[in-house]
């Protein structure tokens, strides 16, 4: 079986390995240069230490010289779906579209053993490839993470455990779609679409609700706009705004009315707000919730992947296909 699985899927594995290898090496080269900006490691500039003179200078150079790479990293959101769907889509669909399932399942290997071996091997490759790439990417992002924390979308979605869960999810969707549609290419498309839809809705709607966010509330300082509302840079701020003296949140129209009033009165806006006891508030998740959130999100995607794989196993076991 090992030889057969390798022979059938070596093209996909090699293409993926080659692509990821090229990107990985590029990241390693650029990352070494970026890391060299931080003698003693980027972790020393994380948090409040980042305000120090050497760190600020290092961050400025990082932004100037490697900021463009960080923007390109957004494309790597798609790495898990490319790996998972590329390996999952043909698993059953290719056998079904070529008719070779009739060949494979009438040899002496019972179909369940065949299926379990294939699922285990290809899910294993999916996890291994995604894991290796994620490790490189997480390392590459260390200087950026020291600067902006790991909770922003461009860090959280690319680091730690969640990419592995995303990849398994894509693998599950692609395999199940392949089993039902009996065609590789449409299965790949379905996995791609499902991946984008699930990732977006989870990141935007579900993720902020994994835990009850904290809220800070402080009066608007008379001096000006310096300083953020409570939350640190590494925290994940979900919402910011203004509240009146009693703590009631102001709608944007109410705030604009105040702004107009300040303009008409000819006073400085901060001063104006300060005098009326207006407060600034911030709703946020503190940075130390990073791993909790990673575990929750990974569990969600792995659970869905497990259900989809369960459907595939059920279909093959019941001889629906």
């Amino acid at each position: 079986m090992t030889w057969l699985i390798w022979r059938q899927h070596r093209t996909e594995v090699c293409v993926l390995g080659l692509l990821l290898g090229v990107f990985g090496i590029a990241l390693l080269v650029l990352g070494t240069q970026a890391h060299d900006l931080f003698p003693g490691g980027p972790a020393r500039c994380a948090g409040t230490a980042g305000a120090g003179e050497t760190c600020t200078a290092a961050f400025r150079r990082l932004d100037e010289e490697y900021g463009y790479v960080e923007n390109l990293l957004a494309a790597f959101y798609l790495v898990p779906v490319v790996i998972g769907a590329f390996l999952g889509a043909p698993l059953l669909a290719r056998e079904l579209e070529d008719g070779t399932w009739q060949l494979a399942w009438t040899q002496a290997v019972p179909r369940m053993r065949w299926l379990v071996a294939k699922l285990a091997a290809l899910a294993g490759v999916t996890v291994a490839l995604t894991g290796m790439f994620t490790a490189v990417l997480t390392w590459f992002r260390q200087p950026f993470d020291a600067w902006e924390g790991r909770f922003q979308y461009d860090a959280f979605d690319l680091e730690g455990l969640v990419p592995l869960a995303y990849a398994l999810f894509a693998f599950g969707v692609a395999t199940a779609a392949g089993a039902i549609l009996r065609r590789s290419l449409p299965a790949f498309g379905v996995a791609f679409g499902a991946f984008l839809a699930a990732r977006m809705s989870v990141a935007l709607l579900a993720r902020p609700a994994y835990a009850t966010p904290l809220t800070t509330m402080e009066p608007v300082p008379a001096g000006g706009t310096k300083g953020q509302a409570g939350a640190g840079v590494a925290d994940w701020v979900i919402e910011r705004g203004y509240a009146d003296a009693a703590g009631r949140r102001l709608s944007s129209t109410e705030y604009y009315e105040l702004e107009d009033a300040a303009n008409q009165a000819g006073t400085n806006l901060s001063q104006f707000l300060h005098e009326r006891g207006i407060q600034r508030f911030g709703v946020y998740h503190p940075a130390d919730r990073f791993w909790t959130f990673q575990l929750i999100e990974a569990a969600v995607f792995v659970a869905v992947a497990a259900i989809l794989i369960g459907v595939v196993v059920w279909r093959v076991r019941r001889r629906v296909i």
Partner: protein
């Protein structure tokens, strides 16, 4: 028939797809040894029945027993005793022929690599060619060599020659019949053409509209049936339900009867019937449930 002589037994087997029943109430007992032809028009349920027999599908009703074992259990032991050649003889197109043989070796308990290589060498099929680059006839031969190398006790073939040109068809049947002569393999194959069956087959199963309409040993069936030709008449001539089909011409009426050869009535002439005419007569019969299914004779 004792258990060891039975290659295949189905009992009340039916298969329902979302669109409806593809096969209903299929009860068959087929003897081991020899060649069994499964005949029926396209869409009669032949592929469904064969897939049920090799365990690719699970029946909606009834049981399928191959060589004394329930096929739905799909143990390696049962699977290794059945060889299957699916319609259009699928192969892994990007594998070389040698890799196809390696696939067979890796996935089977017993696999006679030497036998397969000898067969392919005899046919001049190079081992280093990709399966997808071979001609249709050669692909069918590779698939057959794979199935035969399992040294199966039952070899099931779904329309094995339907997609082949006449030359490849003849060559394929030669190899197949040679294999039957070599060892004690039972061959069950489906076909929608009746032509030439008489020469190669011992046993016949006719399937129409998802039901078995005729089954039995071919020699016995031919002995039991005959054509009676007499003056044209519109009266009901059915003696105890023995008339399979009545065809009324301008002056004559021709009856196909299954009466075991009792003396014909005066004025009627008895003639033997050919296999093709016999099968066609059964295929033309209306398929009301129950009525069209004669009881098992040969088994």
């Amino acid at each position: 028939m004792t258990d060891t002589e039975i290659a295949l037994r189905t009992d009340g087997v039916g298969k329902r797809y979302r669109k409806g029943w593809a096969l209903r109430d299929c009860t068959l007992t087929l003897p081991a040894g020899g060649v069994i032809a499964l005949v029926g028009p396209n869409g009669a349920g032949k592929t469904t029945l064969l897939r049920l027999i090799v365990g690719l599908l699970a029946p909606s009703t009834g049981t399928v027993e191959v060589l004394g074992h329930d096929v739905t259990a799909s143990t390696p032991q049962t699977l290794s005793r059945i060889g299957f050649l699916a319609q259009d003889h699928p192969l892994y197109k990007r594998f070389t022929v040698a890799e196809m043989l390696r696939f067979g070796r890796a996935c089977n308990l017993r696999f006679d690599q030497g036998l397969a290589e000898r067969r392919l060498a005899k046919l001049g099929i190079p081992l280093d060619r990709r399966a997808g680059s071979l001609s249709g006839g050669q692909q069918a031969q590779v698939a057959l060599a794979l199935a035969l190398a399992k040294r199966p006790d039952l070899l099931v073939l779904d329309e094995p020659v339907a997609s082949l040109d006449p030359l490849a068809r003849r060559e394929f049947l030669q190899v197949l019949m040679g294999a039957v002569a070599d060892g004690g393999v039972t061959v069950l194959f489906s076909s929608h053409v009746v032509h030439e069956l008489e020469r190669v087959c011992d046993h016949l199963v006719v399937l129409n509209h998802g039901r078995v309409t005729l089954t039995g040993d071919i020699d016995t069936l031919l002995a039991e049936h005959r054509l009676l030709v007499g003056p044209r008449t519109a009266t009901d001539l059915d003696r105890a339900g023995a008339v399979v089909e009545a065809v009324h011409g301008d002056r004559h009426t021709t009856l196909l009867v299954r009466d075991g050869g009792i003396p014909a009535a005066p004025g009627w002439q008895a003639q033997p019937v050919g296999l093709e005419d016999l099968v066609l007569a059964y295929l033309r019969r209306p398929s009301e449930p129950g009525a069209a299914v004669p009881s098992e004779v040969a088994a």
